[in-house]
């Protein structure tokens, strides 16, 4: 990205760099092994460092997940037999089967070795490979939280831009207040209110949506797609309502920071319409902190939303994590924790890697 000091170029391809007063760091150098090569090398080194950090973090997660969940009280074997009459011999045999009779360190080395080959073990309560259970529930979670993510990000950016641009006005105060109020509302409570109001129906409002689940069952083709969409409305609205405030506030504050900048004054001085000044000049630069937040939020999409998934009986990873913790189903808990953490680490690393491309001042 370049920022040319020539104002005439300011409304050309791409937004100006932050602090438009400076030209590109590489300007004026033209040898073949010059700025680009050096920049590329520096960037690659930077990326390698970030990737190295990610690998270390993943290993830390692996270790933490194993030992952390060993602290959960309870005897999985006793939980699994569900209060049935089991002899001491049977309990011992089950402990042996699940490797619970070994020392904690021996269990840890077994676990680490297996994870490196992609084997997270077998769920105690579902008698199925952990990865099978995770991949079974992942699509439902991605569909719900992914849709909500796209919507609350777009709404947050759009509203954040407008509230900042009309800072202090009635619209700003109303939108910011509403967003903060919804942000503070417990999501499960809002979900239940929506169920009572729009699923069951109240007063003149008819019950329009299903009370829960992902599908009615028995539908195929386009009818199935629409049926799923129908079931998604209320949980998505719940997640968007409690989720968009964060993006709105970050976008709003970073745009407010940009609004006093000289390059905007210059743009206005050129006679550009206010709408264009905002869209072409202010917003692209104000987007940088929001992009970081978007990646962080994207990492959490995989983890689903335990409370909202529970209220709407959504068959995703959030609910699976809850049922795994209640046993405790150690292999499943560890597998889920590892997947959630990996998603967050990967997204943060991706943000780190992409950020210098958006803002040349980073990573140099």
């Amino acid at each position: 990205m370049t920022a040319d000091s020539n104002p005439a170029l300011l409304d050309t391809e791409g937004p100006p760099g932050p602090g438009a007063d400076g030209g590109p760091a590489t300007a004026g150098l033209s040898s073949a092994r010059g700025p680009r090569a050096r920049d590329t090398r520096a960037y690659l080194l930077y990326v390698a460092g970030k990737l190295g950090g990610a690998v270390v973090s993943l290993f830390a997660v692996l270790v933490t997940s194993f030992f952390l969940f060993r602290l959960i009280p309870g005897d999985p074997v006793k939980q699994m037999t569900g209060g049935k009459r089991v002899s001491a011999e049977q309990l011992a045999a089950m402990r042996q089967e699940f490797g619970l009779d070994k020392s904690v360190m021996a269990q840890f080395f077994d676990y680490t070795g297996n994870v490196l080959t992609g084997d997270f073990g077998t769920s105690y309560q579902f008698h199925a490979p952990v990865m099978d259970k995770i991949t079974e529930a992942l699509p439902a979670t991605l569909l719900l939280t992914g849709t909500a993510y796209v919507l609350y990000t777009l709404i947050g950016i759009w509203l954040g831009t407008r509230t900042a641009w009309r800072n202090g006005g009635l619209g700003d105060r109303f939108n910011t207040g509403l967003a903060l109020t919804l942000y503070s509302v417990p999501s499960f409570w809002l979900g239940l209110l929506l169920i009572i109001t729009f699923a069951v129906g109240i007063g003149p409002i008819p019950g329009m949506f299903p009370t829960g689940g992902l599908e009615s069952g028995g539908e195929t083709g386009i009818a199935y797609v629409l049926d799923v969409a129908h079931h998604m409305v209320l949980p998505v609205i719940t997640l968007v309502a409690v989720g968009y405030a964060q993006t709105l506030l970050v976008m709003r504050s970073s745009l407010l920071d940009e609004m006093g900048s000289d390059y905007l004054t210059t743009a206005r001085a050129k006679g550009l319409r206010d709408d264009l000044v905002r869209r072409r000049h202010a917003v692209p630069n104000a987007m940088l902190p929001t992009v970081t937040l978007m990646f962080v939020n994207l990492g959490t999409v995989v983890a689903g939303a335990i409370l909202v998934e529970t209220v709407f009986s959504w068959p995703g990873l959030g609910g699976l994590f809850y049922s795994a913790l209640s046993v405790p189903d150690l292999p499943l808990v560890q597998g889920l924790f590892f997947v959630f953490s990996t998603a967050v680490i990967l997204m943060n690393t991706l943000a780190d890697v992409i950020y210098p491309l958006l803002d040349p001042r980073v990573g140099r």
């Binding site: 990205m1 370049t2 170029l9 409304d11 050309t12 391809e13 791409g14 590489t26 004026g28 010059g34 959960i72 009280p73 309870g74 699994m80 037999t81 049935k84 009459r85 089991v86 002899s87 001491a88 049977q90 309990l91 045999a93 089967e97 579902f126 008698h127 199925a128 079974e136 529930a137 796209v150 919507l151 777009l154 499960f188 239940l192 169920i195 129906g201 008819p206 019950g207 329009m208 949506f209 299903p210 009370t211 829960g212 689940g213 009615s216 069952g217 539908e219 629409l226 049926d227 969409a229 129908h230 409305v233 319409r273 869209r279 529970t310 209220v311 709407f312 009986s313 068959p315 491309l357």
Partner: protein
């Protein structure tokens, strides 16, 4: 992003095409998201009336939908432990015997009759000839023998039903209608073997039974009143009526167990008519029941429950070898102290205030719905609420009140107890507050320890008292067995079958005697003696028998059998009576949350056109605006 060429020159500005591709992309994305939301939103029939379910879905099927909170742990009868899974197995496979819904007595199931040998060690079952598997093959004694032998084998030690076969020596099928089970020692529970019989010709092809969940190939071959046709994890289990079931076909065409992880959402679904029945988990709360009682077309069913809710005392934890461990208060080793605690608990107040009337006052160990085994103390024996008598007993035991009103032992130590409470159970916490008050009046201190998981201090014997509770089966053998000496742990602090470390020679003798007694009336007499002993010991103070509280729509279900039939529960019965007997209400449609597909598609298409048009208009407007710049 970087617009410099390889020589470091900055690219010239484009003089044409002022519209930026990513701007268009952004609008397209926004349009797409909006289209999706609108589509979803509009894919919604405005339907103010609750969907009158039942009796006919779009295809004319009569569907009964049951809202359940549990997940299926496994659809394999060899692995399933949870109530939902075992209830489904009750509906899809036959068991040797069933329980009469009127009085819980054993009645024919897969077996038409059964009798023991003179030495009590061999049981012979006659297997019915009119039961067919859903794939058309005849179900025989060979299937039953194969099932029991598979449970007895060590393949997959986590088998669900191994407790039924620990005393089996040999199981054979000399003919298609004859099953013979040889025992190591006499066992009176042979007409209460709750083991689903599976088709040998299907299951013998399974490679590893310990990893096979029976949830891939539908319909699943069975011979119960229903056939399992579809299952989606944490969404629903769908069954269809088995028209050739030997006892007669169910009246509903389909039975669907639909997952609702939130009980309030399930109640909302019932109110709307999306489901026909809501199973309390374990019961609807008093508030939920009260809110449903006034609703049109909804019946709240309150029946005597199968659970007891009790206070257990730590009698001094020890291993099988007699090694003592834990730190239970030694004052509780004195029967007079235990009985004083018993006498200072107002059980009726707990039923009225904590359970808000949705329970029956506790007495004997086995709930009154199991009439053959239920026992009540005589007037002389009863330890009813009597704080004065409790104070007298404590004085006799050497725990007198000091100047501060505190009870102190001969060693000068105040009498203080700890009680383990389940943090997840509001009843524990509420009763804990009453106990603090009642025992405080007596001069006894109480600390209520509420934990998410009480099992660790419990198995370690590190408690004085604990809130306890069990679901009781028609055959009481299991709940009696958890208080015998062989149930104690092998090693200190290791989990075991024991409930709370009770070990008494007299009780064990009675336990062995009832297990070897094949005469039902005599056996019931011995069981009652055991309950009497438990009551006097003060080890288990049964406070209440919580009712089963559930609700269903009368415009979808015309009639349904409870168990016991006179007044009982519907969900989680010992048998398939409720769902097998349920009669659809006339002329209504069945529970269905779907909507008219044609209407949805029409509205959704209109929405897409509308939004698409809007996006195009925005793009055009923007391009002209940019041309004007």
């Amino acid at each position: 992003m970087d617009t410099q060429d390889q020589h470091g020159r900055t690219a010239a500005p484009k003089s044409t095409a002022p519209r930026r591709p990513h701007g268009r992309l952004r609008i397209a994305l926004a349009g797409g998201a909006a289209a999706f939301t609108l589509t979803a939103g509009l894919a919604t029939p405005l339907n103010p009336a609750p969907q009158q379910a039942a009796a006919k879905a779009d295809d004319g099927k009569k569907v009964l939908t049951v809202a359940v909170a549990q997940s299926v742990d496994s659809l394999s009868p060899f692995l399933a432990q949870r109530l939902l899974s075992t209830s489904i197995h009750r509906l899809t496979y036959e068991y040797l015997t069933n329980y009469d819904p009127k009085d819980n007595k054993a009645i024919p199931g897969f077996a038409t009759s059964w009798k023991p040998s003179a030495d009590k060690l061999t049981w012979t079952y006659t297997i019915r000839g009119d039961s067919k598997w859903s794939d058309g093959k005849q179900a025989t004694a060979e299937d039953a023998a194969w099932t029991f032998n598979k449970v007895m084998s060590k393949e997959g030690t986590a088998t669900a039903n191994s407790n039924f076969v620990t005393n089996f020596k040999k199981v054979t099928a000399p003919s298609p209608t004859k099953l013979v089970i040889e025992l190591k020692k006499p066992q009176a529970t042979m007409a209460a073997l709750d083991v689903p019989i599976v088709p040998k010709h299907v299951w013998e092809k399974v490679d590893d039974i310990s990893k096979f969940n029976n949830d891939k190939d539908f319909p699943i071959v069975g011979n119960g009143p229903f056939i399992l046709t579809d299952y989606k994890v944490d969404q629903y289990v769908r069954l269809k009526a088995n028209k050739s079931f030997w006892r007669g076909s169910p009246k509903f065409d389909e039975l669907v167990f639909k997952t609702y992880k939130d009980q309030d959402a399930a109640v909302s679904a019932l109110r709307k008519g999306e489901v026909s029945f809501v199973a309390g988990q374990p019961a609807l709360t008093p508030a939920q029941a009260a809110s449903l009682k006034g609703e049109e077309n909804i019946k709240v069913n309150e029946g005597p429950g199968r659970r007891f809710f009790a206070l257990a005392t730590n009698p001094g934890a020890k291993t099988l070898d007699g090694e003592k461990f834990g730190d239970g208060n030694p004052a509780l080793l004195d029967k007079r102290v235990r009985q004083a605690l018993f006498l200072s608990v107002d059980r009726q107040a707990i039923v009225d205030k904590v359970f808000q009337g949705q329970a029956v006052e506790g007495a004997g160990y086995i709930p009154p719905r199991f009439a053959d085994y239920a026992w009540k103390p005589s007037a002389d024996q009863e330890l009813k609420y009597d704080p004065k008598r409790a104070a007298k007993l404590l004085d006799e035991a050497g725990y007198k009140k000091n100047g501060d009103g505190k009870r102190v032992g001969k060693d000068g130590k105040p009498l203080d107890f700890r009680i383990l409470c389940h943090a997840t159970d509001p009843n524990d916490k509420a009763v804990g507050k009453y106990l603090k008050e009642w025992w405080g009046d007596l001069g006894i201190g109480l600390k209520v320890d509420c934990l998410d998981d009480v099992s660790v201090p419990w198995y370690a014997g590190e408690y004085d008292l604990a809130f306890d509770g069990w679901s009781v089966n028609p055959d009481p053998d299991f709940v009696l067995g958890i208080h015998t000496c062989p149930a104690l742990p092998k090693k200190a602090k290791e989990s075991a079958a024991t409930d709370n470390f009770i070990c008494d020679k007299k009780y064990d003798e009675l336990y062995d005697k009832q297990l070897a007694e094949y005469d039902p009336a005599k056996r019931a007499g011995i069981v009652k003696q055991m309950e009497s002993w438990l009551y006097d010991s003060g080890y288990m103070n049964v406070l209440a028998y919580p009712n089963a509280v559930e609700a269903y729509r009368t415009d979808q279900i015309k009639s349904i059998t409870t168990m016991p039939t006179a007044a009982g529960n519907i969900y989680g019965q010992d048998g398939y009576w409720s769902w097998w007997s349920a009669v659809p209400a006339d002329g209504k449609s069945s529970s269905k949350d779907g909507s008219s597909t044609g209407v949805i598609i029409g509205i959704a298409a209109a929405a897409v056109v509308l939004v698409g048009g809007g996006v195009l208009f925005a793009l055009r407007r923007r391009s002209t605006a940019e041309d004007r710049e």
